[in-house]
């Protein structure tokens, strides 16, 4: 299902805080996460044990998902983090962090781990 991805700063899901004070586990709990409208939760036939796979044409991440009435239908919101930035893009020499067209599907696969992202990024 097609959604618009928006990455925003959230005080309870703050990458600086998790890197400075947390563990890899808390980093993943707090930042490998997205928020969608409860109606979209139903449309996707999600159950609480499932995760969301969010993909653009080049990359995908699997993250935990929570319902949030404050998010409009058709939008998926992620806290700014290395997970959301697997999907943010460069457009005309500028950075696009909002309203990125993504495909979203429910999955039983586990979330994309921080180590996996780092290993992929670190290839020198």
């Amino acid at each position: 299902m097609e959604f618009l991805l928006n990455s925003i700063r959230k005080i309870d899901n703050d990458q600086v805080k998790e890197h400075a004070f947390g563990t890899e586990q808390t980093l993943e709990e707090r930042l490998a996460i997205c928020f969608i409208n409860p109606k979209d939760f139903e449309k996707l036939k999600l159950v609480s044990s499932q995760q969301l796979k969010i993909s653009n044409k080049d990359k995908n991440v699997i993250v935990n998902v929570e319902k949030d009435d404050n998010i409009p239908e058709g939008m998926v919101v992620m806290p700014v983090s290395i997970w959301s930035n697997q999907l943010s893009v460069v457009q005309n020499n500028e950075l696009l962090y909002k309203n990125i067209v993504v495909n979203v599907e429910a999955t039983h696969d586990s979330i994309t781990k921080f180590k996996e992202i780092m290993q992929e990024t670190m290839v020198k």
Binding site: F21, N70, I82, N92, T121
Partner: protein, 435 residues
């Protein structure tokens, strides 16, 4: 107990009470969650307190001499170094960073260039008024948050500008109207009262609203009966009344409005709207406030302007600044750099993968005080003192007002300040090598 300025965010609150014996901080009073986290960084478990270099793929603790030698080797073997970050350090450190870039023929830019700096430059070229926090506190009667959520990014901003009582107007919150334009009902909506105007706009439709407002400001045509961008006609009328009737209005712009679009420039159109409103205004004016996050995001522009007359994208060849069409993004995208010096920021987390993976491929020197995704891939990591707690210096508040930050306690292991470390690297390069 003594009063200090907090470096937790770009608001630089100067009313934080700190109890300290000069060695430890025992109590911090008046800080918000972000401010508290800043003070907690002093003893954060993932704080870096010794230099690290990568050996056999692993970061290992080493002596300062060894780390500096490695860093100098990287710099000397680099012909097009990239220097980036600098919004979480003092202006003095920014100044040394620019001098270092000049010395090593590098390209230097700050986080502001992908954030509020974009609006700053546009506002400067159009001659738009930027306002100050004090001005809003004392005189403001209309506050518009457009794509900005200060409740979660600059937590005490609304306390100061919305709930404060003005010196020159005898009323406070009761005459201040808050308007929020956002597609998401963010935490900032929670402070809205009955006279305020929440405008939930459809995603990517800001341009329709701006163009309608521009049209209305010029021709007073009727607003479409079906509303615009998902906003009801009556709410649009109220918005227009506020915009044209405010005596001292301010539009606070966040990241939401600086997103690129191939068909139009949203910031430019919004600033043109502001100009139109001010032309039409008979008794007041609307100004602008830029909402950056890092505590000295505004500083780099001022330092670069005062040194070289440009606010970002400084490129040096033969120790002279040259005109460049390149930006931070184009430099990285074209891989037109062969090493990077990252200062007080985490590009591996905050840049898109297509860019962060390119930074990760090249030798990287990091100057920062705690673990980040960037520290995981760095070749050399230099820890430094925390500015505003363990070292002092100048910073520019989000309204472009310079504020002095003071040292409260000594850093662990006598860590140098960012300025001292950058000065040391500059001095060694200037002498032609390491000690």
């Amino acid at each position: 107990m003594k009063r200090f300025t907090c470096s937790g965010c770009s608001l630089l609150c100067d009313d934080i009470i700190v109890q300290s014996d000069g060695l430890f901080i025992s109590e911090v009073i008046g800080a918000c969650l972000k401010g508290k986290e800043r003070f907690d960084l002093v003893s954060a478990k993932n704080r870096i307190t010794s230099p690290l270099i990568r050996k056999d793929g692993e970061l290992k603790e080493v002596s300062w001499d060894e780390a500096i030698k490695k860093a100098i080797d990287i710099i000397k073997n680099s012909s097009v170094p990239l220097l980036y970050g600098f919004s979480n350090v003092s202006c003095e450190a920014q100044d040394v960073g620019i001098k270092l870039a000049q010395k090593i023929d590098g390209f230097i830019d700050s986080n502001a260039s992908i954030c509020q700096g974009k609006i700053f430059n546009k506002a400067k070229s159009l001659g738009i008024n930027l306002t100050t926090i004090t001005e809003i506190i004392n005189k403001g009667d209309l506050i518009i948050l457009w794509g900005a959520n200060p409740a979660e990014t600059v937590p005490r901003l609304l306390n100061k500008v919305l709930f404060s009582r003005g010196k020159f107007r005898m009323t406070g919150r009761e005459i201040k109207t808050l308007v929020i334009v956002d597609p998401i009902k963010t935490a900032s909506f929670r402070v809205m009262g009955v006279r305020d105007l929440p405008l939930i706009i459809e995603p990517n439709k800001d341009i329709d609203l701006i163009r309608m407002l521009k049209e209305e400001c010029c021709t007073a045509n009727s607003i479409p009966s079906q509303g615009v961008a998902g906003i009801d006609k009556n709410d649009l009328k109220r918005l227009l009344l506020h915009l044209t009737g405010a005596e001292n209005g301010v539009i606070i712009l966040g990241q939401g409005v600086i997103q690129p679009n191939p068909d139009y420039n949203l910031v430019e159109e919004l600033l043109e709207l502001l100009q139109l409103i001010n032309e039409r205004q008979e008794k007041g004016r609307i100004s602008l406030l830029l909402m950056g996050g890092h505590f000295n995001m505004a500083g780099f522009d001022h330092v670069a302007l005062s040194s070289f007359g440009v606010s970002g994208n400084l490129e040096f060849k033969h120790n002279q600044m040259m005109k460049t069409e390149d930006t931070l993004v184009s430099k990285i995208e074209k891989e037109n750099f062969d090493s990077s010096i990252i200062v007080g920021t985490d590009p591996i987390s905050h840049l898109p993968y297509s860019l962060s993976s390119k930074i990760a491929k090249k030798p990287l020197i990091l100057i920062d005080n705690h673990n980040t995704a960037t520290s995981h891939i760095a070749d050399v990591v230099f820890p430094t003192a925390i500015t505003g707690i363990e070292s002092g210096g100048l910073a520019y508040r989000l309204d472009q007002v310079p504020i002095e930050l003071n040292k409260i306690i000594n850093p662990p292991n006598n860590l140098p300040s960012d300025e001292e470390l950058l000065n040391q690297l500059f001095g060694l390069i200037n002498q032609g090598g390491s000690e």
